[in-house]
Symmetry: C2
Subunit: 201 residues, 2 copies
């Protein structure tokens, strides 16, 4: 959930936090989710719901098994997202079906509820990350698993209620509240420890 | 250890990976080490040893308890580092004593051995991060602890031998090899779980 992220391409790669509405968070989140030191997590998909001006919501999906041109720095990742928003604007795209922007990067007109529906239809177990949840180290996490994480702003009450309606559990990662791009590192580490022999790297 | 990071300010904030010699890694590492969602880790200090052209080594230190102007994005962190390198160049600074660049950001002419000596003199227990080390979840980690992490390039054999001469243990974080800025998230999470009631946030 990116509550303020810009939903058109009118932001500067030199100023992702300001002009992009904290688009820098989404950039780091994509990298933390998909890249390891020596490879890419082909079994992972990132969904971003962008809710900033001028035309929310926009959903962006980045697929580990097909994405190209993904580098660990913020700026180049910001360019991938901006390219998707450019294409969406050029096509005046308003459909709620995924359209390809570049290899492994897709967009559509969709909000949180649509994405939760899509994940549920694909039989994902949805987990919501919150400070007072069950400790991820001891919790039962059933695969395939999807994790709902907010950006620097907490989910609104309505969003939280919506997520809880779909979720299989509420998980906590530790005693401190962390950036979303750091939360995903801890989630991956826990799942790597449990399931890494299944991974195709 | 930043094997290729530029040791003068002649790099572009728009191209930290290329012109900065993967300075983007150091930027993300500083943020992962020092910032949480709602605060700063006042009990943490980051040391970077920069070994790129034109004039290595340069050591940079960022102190959680005094740093200012630190934001979560790469570019603004890159500016803090570049300012330190500007000042070092302007002063033709070659001493091995810390000089302040901005609040909480220091520099000096020093390499890996100097920093290991300094940490040892300050009674730090030094741990080396490596894939085949002891699992951090079960290892004994004595405070105060310092962790030696390489950038995208492994330590050279000489560097590794040097570190092992000072280290209290070799630790592993999990089954996959991760970016250094993600390693520090997992280290913090483990220490937060053990010691967070001591933290002043």
């Amino acid at each position: 959930m990116l509550h303020r992220a810009r939903t058109d391409p009118n932001f500067k790669l030199e100023d992702l936090p300001g002009s992009g509405g904290r688009m820098d968070i989404f950039c780091r989140f994509i990298v933390s989710s998909l890249l390891t030191s020596h490879g890419i997590r082909r079994d992972t998909v990132v969904y971003g719901v962008l809710l900033g001006p001028p035309n929310p919501p926009v959903a962006i999906k980045v697929l580990g098994d097909t994405v190209r041109y993904l580098n660990p720095d913020e700026r180049s990742t910001g360019a991938l997202i901006r390219n998707a928003l450019f294409k969406m604007k050029r096509l005046s795209y308003n459909a709620d079906t995924w359209m390809r922007s570049s290899p492994g990067v897709m967009f559509k007109r969709a909000g949180l509820k649509d994405i939760l529906e899509e994940l549920t239809n694909e039989n994902f177990n949805i987990y919501y990350l919150k400070e007072d949840g069950e400790d991820i180290r001891t919790a039962n996490v059933s695969l395939p698993a999807a994790f709902v994480i907010s950006d620097s702003v907490d989910l609104t009450n309505d969003e939280e209620e919506l997520v809880l309606g779909y979720s299989s559990g509420v998980l906590s990662l530790g005693p401190l509240s962390l950036y979303s791009e750091h939360c995903v590192v801890i989630i991956h580490n826990e799942l790597d420890r449990r399931y890494s022999h299944f991974l195709k790297e």
